[in-house]
Amino acid sequence: MRIWSIVGRLAWRNLWRNKRRTLIMISAVSVGIWAMLFMTALLRGMVNEMIRGTVQVLPGHIQIHHPEYRDDPNVVNAIAPPQGKLLALLQSDAVVAWASRVRVPAVVSSERESRSVTLLGIDPDQERSVSFVADSMVAGRFLEGRSDAGIVIGRKLAETLETDIGKRIVIMSQDPQNEIVDRGFRIVGLFDAKLQSVEEGLVFIGIGTAQDFLRLGNRVHEISVLGPGFRDLAALNEAVAAAAGPDLETLPWYELDSYFGTLLQVMDGFVLVWIVVIFLALSFGLVNTLVMAVFERVHEIGLMLALGMRPMVILAQVVVESVLLLLIGLGIGNLLAWTTVARLHAGIDVSVVAEGMEMFGSSAMLYPELAVNDLFMANTVVILLGIVASLSPAWRASRYQPVEALSKV
């Protein structure tokens, strides 16, 4: 303990012997850390926004289906509505919201155009908490009950079909007996979505109306579940799968949408690579500073060795000096990054490139998010790599022969 007291004191005072050099290095580390964290926060914000947007479009965090539904989204691959253990779990505090849906392929026709779409029968009350549609109405109204006779379509689809609110369109699909069913619906609302494909490809009717129309009884095709967040879903997914039973397929969003699931993993890896790359640039400055500091103090190092300081303590002293320098830089860099992100909490307007952002499912506003994990990873990586980088000059310092070092002026 006493040895660390003298090592710390010497390292701290030596750090300030060349104030200008130390301040330049601290500035470089601070700016590097700031850049590391701020860019990570921007990327994290963008990817999270994309994932949230995607999850909000429909999938939720976890979905339950008939085991064959994903391969063949046919009307016959329906399941019973939640009941028993599954219903109890869905109504517990572990689940934030859930919705069951009828979901089948269909053809929509106006008096001018026809398009293939996905028909969704929804419970408007459940759906409000799970997906985007209730909050994305740009004209008319949202569905008002399970048996609402109206239909809500996307603005873009309305343009394509050359139709509008109040007009009737015909939905055609198949019932479980493979008989064609069709019915006219009056458009009661238009919704807007970040993705054009969503605006053009989804139409919503009441779930009761859909079950009657498709002769499904009370059966549904999809149960969508929202947990507390889109990360760390393993435990909830396991619980839902156990409650749903082995005859149903239960999958988290990142398996349902492998693109975004992979994107999230790639993002985690990318953050680490980004941090390491910035640190490598910094490390040249750090090593140079330490080499100069050691080179200037060869005589003193010889003196300390002569007085009985063990070589490993000399090594530790140089490493501690490096760690102190990094800690100061990290402190300032973290503060700068936190301040920058806090000041930008209202978002950064990137509407100049909005079309490109929307293609990826992100909005025209970018909300930087400084994740605790990223903060921890950046600081840990910098300290660990800093120690590794300082080992070379530290090792050199510890290998001096006292008599040779003492002869250096």
Binding site: R2, I3, E300, M304, A306, R310, V403
Partner: protein, 230 residues
């Protein structure tokens, strides 16, 4: 048991293609409590012998024993440990650590030895007062004169009461009064604690305090005499 025993010690320095014999087959035995001066002209080998005895340099051949331990075969850490616990060094240049105050410089060795903070400060303040530096404890070396710095270095060398003090030209940068005070301090320590002193010098005033004079020339011992100290 001898304090120091050198057997056939040689040290060769290579300067390009030339070889210079810093020590040439030196054998020497110094008993505990002796006050010895190594006397030689510049380049005669006194500092080389002092460095070899102190474990700061390794001989090319021969054996060096300090307090019953053969040190020329010890590893770096073991040598550091031996220097820390058995030897006090006083160098010609003051050799203080510039970022530490006078007190902290004196405490340095004790801190490496693991002496408690209270004990360190008490002993450092006492020894600094003894070498005439009371009131200057918190000054850094840059704010002290050469003589004051040398006294701090002496205080550092003797504060932990080592069995042996090795001093290389300790009075070279001191005026005659300060040199006399320093030598009297050495003699007092020698008598009080039976500390072995080995001093490399060519200062006749220093030699007069020694009980034994070992003269070297071109790395060889040419004379080894005992005398009545002043």
């Amino acid at each position: 048991m001898s304090a120091v025993r050198c057997i056939g010690v040689s040290r060769i320095f290579r300067q390009g293609e030339h070889e210079v014999r810093g020590l040439d087959n030196v054998s020497l035995e110094i008993e505990k409590g002796e006050f010895v001066c190594l006397v030689a002209p510049s380049g005669g080998g006194k500092t080389t012998l002092l460095n070899a005895i102190g474990g700061l340099d390794r001989p090319d051949s021969g054996e060096i024993w300090v307090a019953g331990t053969r040190i020329d075969t010890l590893g770096k850490s073991a040598l550091a440990e031996m220097r820390l616990n058995h030897i006090g060094f006083v160098f010609q240049a003051y050799n203080l650590i510039p970022v530490l105050t006078a007190r902290e410089n004196v405490e340095f060795v004790m801190q490496l030895q693991g002496v408690s903070a209270d004990e360190r400060q008490h002993r450092a303040d006492a020894i600094l007062a003894e070498v005439g530096l009371k009131g200057l404890e918190d000054r850094r070396p840059a704010k002290m004169s050469g003589g004051q710095q040398q006294r701090v270095a002496v205080a550092r060398a003797i504060v932990s009461e080592p069995a042996m003090v090795l001093a290389d030209e300790p009075t070279a940068n001191l005026d005659s009064h300060a040199a006399e005070q320093l030598m009297e301090l050495f003699v007092a320590l020698n008598k009080k604690h039976d500390t072995t002193f080995i001093i490399a010098t060519h200062d006749p005033r220093v030699m007069s305090y020694a009980g034994r004079i070992v003269r070297l020339l071109d790395g060889r011992i040419v004379e080894d005499v005992r005398q009545e100290a002043a």
